[in-house]
């Protein structure tokens, strides 16, 4: 199968990863056999991207077969992507998810998410961080985007 990322992009991303990835980061992809037009491309894209750094590991699950794992991460769509911090065997779930293929404009979001989770740093203002720590109830944010 032809690569989704050309050599120039691969070189660029490899450089960015080398300079900016800090701690190991895990990508967990949930895919489906049916009704998922973008699952195969998403898987290939994530395989290519995770292959550009030793700090990134990729796990792929079938959403239906691994419903228990999907539930644990609150994933109900395919393709569904979870970004986690890895510390040895320990998995740190920061609550960062994507639904749909991260291509086009969202490719940069994918790279950005990997860097932030790897750095264990949200990049937010201190005031925002402090206020978020005072939350007492669960907050579920869904950010709708389009690839172009």
């Amino acid at each position: 199968m032809a690569s989704l990322l050309n050599e120039s992009i691969r070189t660029q991303v490899r450089d960015v990863f080398e300079n900016q990835l800090k701690q190991p980061v895990g990508v967990i992809l949930f895919e489906g056999k049916e009704n998922c037009e973008t699952c195969a491309d998403t898987r290939q894209l994530l395989e290519e991207v995770s292959g550009l750094s030793d700090k990134i590991s990729l796990e792929v699950y079938d959403l239906e077969e691994k419903a228990d794992v999907a539930n644990q991460y609150h994933v109900d769509k395919v393709p569904g992507i979870v970004f986690v911090g890895k510390d040895g065997d320990q998995v740190i779930d920061y609550g960062v998810r994507m639904a749909g293929i991260p291509s086009g404009h969202e490719f940069s979001t994918l790279i950005h998410d990997l860097i932030l989770v790897s750095g264990r740093d949200s990049g937010l203002e201190q005031k925002t961080r402090d206020e978020l720590k005072t939350l007492t109830k669960p907050v579920h944010l869904q950010v709708f985007v389009t690839p172009t």
Binding site: M98, A99, G100, L116, L135, V139, H140, F144
Partner: protein
Amino acid sequence: MMAMESPLVEAEMVEAMEFPDLADRFNVSGVPQTTINQGAGTVVGATPEDYLLNEIKRAMG
């Protein structure tokens, strides 16, 4: 990235064209659009941190 700062916050980026039913349900007309707790709050467009935070607080009641 707010999700990283609180174990109570979960954030999902949704590709609207792939999930049109969900986008319809929350009346997504422009992107980015942020939906808070299944429609308890909505922010259309890119948003400064403090504005989104205020909307979250308002949506929580």
